[in-house]
């Protein structure tokens, strides 16, 4: 009887530990991947014409490809022209162009965010 009880307890404990290890491993994997991903905004062009446009140059400076999913200008989200979301390869660069009626002399906070939650941000003034 004691052997049976002990066996059941061992099985339960192993299941518990396995479950914990599985969850923690996923957690470690996610934060590890996030730490390996890094993007920067290299430059921003404020383009005249009708309509006015903003082109944001983002570069992947990490060691894992980055999936760009959001671009914010002045706190609002915009969808750039072309393929979106965009997968940025390691050391790759992309020009994200959005239509935006910018005003000369005003400052704009521009944020590009990835699916893993990393951001590149900067304030730019045309």
């Amino acid at each position: 009887m004691a052997i049976v009880m002990g066996g059941i307890m061992m099985a339960w404990a192993m299941g518990l530990i396995g479950s914990y290890q599985g969850g923690t491993q996923i957690q470690y994997m996610l934060i590890g991947e996030r730490a390996q991903e890094a993007i920067v905004i290299e430059n921003v062009w404020f383009e005249t014409g009708t309509p006015k446009k903003i082109t944001v140059f983002a570069r992947n400076v990490g060691v894992r490809e980055a999936k760009l999913v959001s671009i914010y200008v002045g706190g609002s989200s915009y969808t750039p022209n072309g393929t979106w979301p965009y997968t940025l390869t390691v050391a790759g660069k992309v020009a994200l162009q959005i239509t935006y009626a910018w005003a000369s002399g005003e400052s704009y906070l521009i944020v590009v965010a990835t699916a893993r939650g990393n951001q590149a941000r900067g304030e730019w003034t045309p």
Partner: protein
């Protein structure tokens, strides 16, 4: 079976087996946790290393050539890591933006000339540009806009400067003092000043790293076109007077104090007023505005003769401290 059939001592063996099993499980969990944390720390350390390299990548753009058909510039890497320049962001002053890919490696502590890149340039072009590296850093030349025309680059040091601020050039008439407010002298427009005796003062700065001594030959020359004769004529020539001099009336003459025999000292890097009124070097007579009234534009040359204090050679230098545009209207 033989062991189980003998019931004595079995519980101790069973509990011992369980104890060992539990210990092995605990050890495994701890070891697994340790290896996971170590793997994460290694990833994070690599990230910090990349960040460190990124922050220590420093380039400076030098010698942007002008008057060229395409962009020519030098890049110096004064950072701690080699840099791979991959981007050229080009912008014309009319708002046109262009992008070009570059592929230039610059080792730490070295300079590299990047020539004939970017768009074709005209002499009338005004532009700016930036270069970007593979680590995501962007660098721009110091000057905001570059004019694609050859310009003189020579410089000439000047011993004295005039700051064109409100109180830099002033005058008083007989009966007045230098107590504020004092009138500015660039534009004198008052018929009541006709025939009045006058003292000017100019605030000049000594740009030498040594004190200088102004000599009695310093003068202010007001030159105006003589329209009728198609020549230039001297309206007034005034010599240097003593500091803070005013005009006094003595024995039927309007007089000012002459500069002391040892001259007037302007300390190194300091500004001082220099006064002009005497009609001749070392006399005491104050200059008088045209008694008939005038309406003239003058070019005013402030000529300074000076020595540098403690200069072993004792050289007397001459310089124009300022050329001032003046109008005197007393008609």
């Amino acid at each position: 079976m033989n062991l189980l059939s003998k019931k004595r001592g079995v519980s101790g063996i069973i509990s011992g087996v369980f104890l060992v099993a539990v210990a092995v499980m605990v050890f495994n969990v701890l070891a697994w946790q340790f290896f996971q944390a170590d793997a994460y720390n290694r990833i994070f350390h690599e990230r910090q290393l990349r960040e460190w390299e990124r922050y220590n990548e420093r380039l400076i753009i030098l010698d942007v050539a002008v008057g060229t058909e395409r962009l020519n510039f030098t890049v110096k890497n004064y950072g701690a890591v080699s840099a791979h320049v991959v981007d050229l962001f080009f912008g014309f002053s009319n708002g046109t933006h262009l992008y070009y890919a570059l592929d230039v490696w610059i080792a730490s502590g070295t300079t590299k000339r990047i020539a004939s890149v970017g768009p074709k340039l005209l002499l009338s072009d005004v532009y700016d540009f930036k270069i970007g590296t593979e680590r995501g850093n962007v660098f721009a030349p110091a000057q905001q806009s570059i004019y694609n025309q050859l310009q003189p680059t020579g410089q000439q040091s000047v011993p004295f400067t005039l700051t064109f601020v409100t109180d830099a050039f002033q005058f008083i008439l007989y009966g007045e003092t230098w107590n504020p407010p004092v009138k500015s002298a660039w534009y004198i427009n008052n018929p009541a000043y006709k025939g009045k005796h006058i003292v000017f003062r100019v605030n000049i700065t000594n740009t030498y790293p040594s004190d200088v001594v102004l000599l009695s030959g310093c003068n202010m020359l007001l030159v105006t076109p003589d329209i009728e004769a198609s020549t230039m004529k001297i309206g007034y020539r005034m010599y240097i007077s003593n500091e803070d001099t005013t005009i006094t009336y003595e024995q039927g003459k309007y007089k000012v104090q002459p500069i002391p025999s040892q001259g007037q000292v302007i300390p190194a890097g300091k500004s001082r007023y220099v006064y002009f009124s005497q009609t001749a070097e070392n006399n005491t007579f104050a200059t008088q505005l045209d008694a008939n009234g005038e309406n003239r534009n003058y070019s005013n040359y402030v000529a300074i003769f000076y020595k540098i204090k403690n200069d072993a050679s004792g050289t007397i230098f001459g310089a124009t401290a300022a050329i001032i545009a003046m109008q005197i209207k007393t008609t």
